[in-house]
Assembly symmetry: C2
Homo-oligomer: 343 residues x 2
């Protein structure tokens, strides 16, 4: 299994985030990627492959050009405004507001292009997010070239990012960019199964009206957990996309038995859809030790997840998403991949 | 001229707000009301009148019941969650998200019912906002009983608050509540002219599809200034409200000549509409010394504003909105009212 990771992804190195009305230490930090990298390097069946730059065009197939440009320009806009530290939005176009005009003011732009005050933006964010998307694209290319599986160690993660907004530590939607790339290179149908603890709201929104990309997400019930405002079971898609979106909200405290039942239920839908490729949005914040999450999966529950995914029998691209128990992150991801490869 | 103010309005006493990703000292503080009260008390033509409790029902005519209940319950929800300090939201239902389901989680509720991370919510907010709305209602009652003018010293302010969201230091929309009350008590048409430095987005949204309440707002161009996402000149109303909404965005740096031209332009529209009552959303953050604003009106420009409003020849209810140059606030408001009464 090829592993794709670019050291440029480490450049986004936020110090603080806003949580509970306070500035606290950031949790989506470069060490997350380093821990996973080290653990995966110890697996005999993985090899690191170089990340080619496939350009900005595949990102523009998913994201709004004005949004991409804003992320790229943010550092110079922030400096020109004489601001210090990391950028946080503080006002949003809520109900009744307009989104058809992009404000001139930097605080207006920050709110226009986000949904979350907790995600720090820096002058290094764009480069790291771009590199993270390239890792996903290279993973997709490996499948197109006949590999049966690939691992894109994407960080910053992507599944909360929509067409023209960031949030939840996500800027470019790596899984969506990979899926669109597979379609553009000839795949007829692609499935994305998001097993991160949080709902993949951005990915859902990007493909909600499309029949060519199936989206499934199992996650903590949004009534009780971030991102709160999307991820309910009655969201089945719209227009041509009707019937191609599946949400499996689970109660806080969910442990392995219910988790595995739901995973297999989703994989049954994947089998029915019969995609050319399956992308797994792999967050491991369902681990019991995760500092911001409330599922109860243990270390020993991890291999069975990989085994179940292998049994789906499709070419698989793993795209890394969340997981914040930094000390256990590598071990958990490696256990899943080991379960996938050796069962 | 009767002056309405309840000491209960002082109970909302926030310590901090979030600005630029930092916790800074709050600017919407009880001293604002005290300064205005002291200055108005020095005017010979004003008398303080007691504020009667007209109940929650007139507030429910404008605001969503679930929203009102959330504000009332916030203190106990916050304590039950073991939280400390003041409440700030940090994630919102942006584009693509749902607003038809109210989350169970407190952070979800905070985001669902707001559009702004900078407005602190405390266990004292509901009581103060309720009292502020009662001051506006008592002012409306004075007009209904034949007074030609009244001053409601509303604080917390109201014009950024919509049917079911708070933000911009506003919780209940005092001007909208007074306008609805005038309508419910028999007025055929009411005009609200918002001359605060910031667009009155909440008031606009509340009456946007109605012909019985005309709304006008002159303010800093939202492309360059808070609230950023509403207040453009092309917002003319919808449905039955078409043609009854007027926005006059002005450039940063606007001084008295252009300000007065625009004020009179708006008053011409009021004359054309011929309302039974005129409500002035009176923010004085257009003052050159305001710490968060960028218009250039001086102390000596204030009386002419009052004179122009008197010349409109309608029964007028002044409803206090913004103004953050605390040391000058009383003098500026008193100058406007003095200009109104004595010219
Ligand atoms: Zn997650
Ligand atoms: Zn204002």
């Amino acid at each position: 299994m090829k592993l794709f990771f670019s050291p440029d992804q480490l450049a986004h190195n936020p110090q603080k985030e806003i949580s509970d009305g306070k500035l606290v230490d950031a949790v989506e930090i470069p060490q997350r990627a380093e821990m996973v990298l080290n653990a995966l390097r110890a697996l005999p069946d993985l090899c690191e492959a170089p990340v080619q730059d496939l350009g900005r065009e595949p990102i523009e197939r998913v994201h709004d050009k004005g949004y991409i440009q804003f992320l790229e320009d943010f550092g110079s806009l922030w400096a020109a405004a004489g601001r210090e530290g990391e950028g946080f939005p503080f006002v949003w176009p809520g109900r009744d507001f307009r989104t058809d005009k992009v404000p001139n003011h930097l605080d207006g732009k920050l709110g226009h292009y986000s949904f979350d005050a907790g995600t720090p933006l820096t002058d290094k964010t764009y480069g790291a997010a771009y590199a993270s998307a390239q890792s996903a694209l290279n993973g997709a290319d490996a499948l197109l070239n006949g590999d049966q599986h690939a691992f894109a160690l994407c960080r910053p993660p992507g599944h909360h990012a929509g067409k023209d907004y960031y949030g939840g530590y996500c800027f470019f939607n790596n899984a969506a960019i990979a899926a669109q790339y597979l379609r553009d290179q000839g795949a007829e149908r692609v499935s994305i199964f998001d097993i991160d603890y949080h709902h993949g709201n951005g990915t859902q929104a990007i493909f909600y009206e499309r029949a060519d990309v199936q989206f499934l997400s199992m996650h903590a019930d949004p009534l009780d957990e971030y991102p709160y405002f999307l991820g309910h079971a009655d969201e089945r898609g719209m227009g041509e996309g009707t019937g191609h979106n599946f949400n499996y909200p689970l109660p806080l405290g969910t442990a392995a038995p219910e988790f595995m039942t739901t995973l297999n239920q989703g994989l049954d839908e994947v089998a029915r859809y019969d995609p050319d490729y399956l992308i797994i949005s792999l967050g491991v914040d369902f681990f019991e030790g995760d500092p911001i999450s409330q599922f109860k999966l243990t270390h020993t529950d991890m291999p069975a997840i990989g085994t179940a995914l292998r049994q789906a029998g499709k070419p698989i691209l793993f795209v890394m998403e969340g997981g914040y128990a930094v000390g256990d992150l590598g071990r958990n991801v490696a256990s899943i991949i080991d379960g996938y490869l050796n069962n």
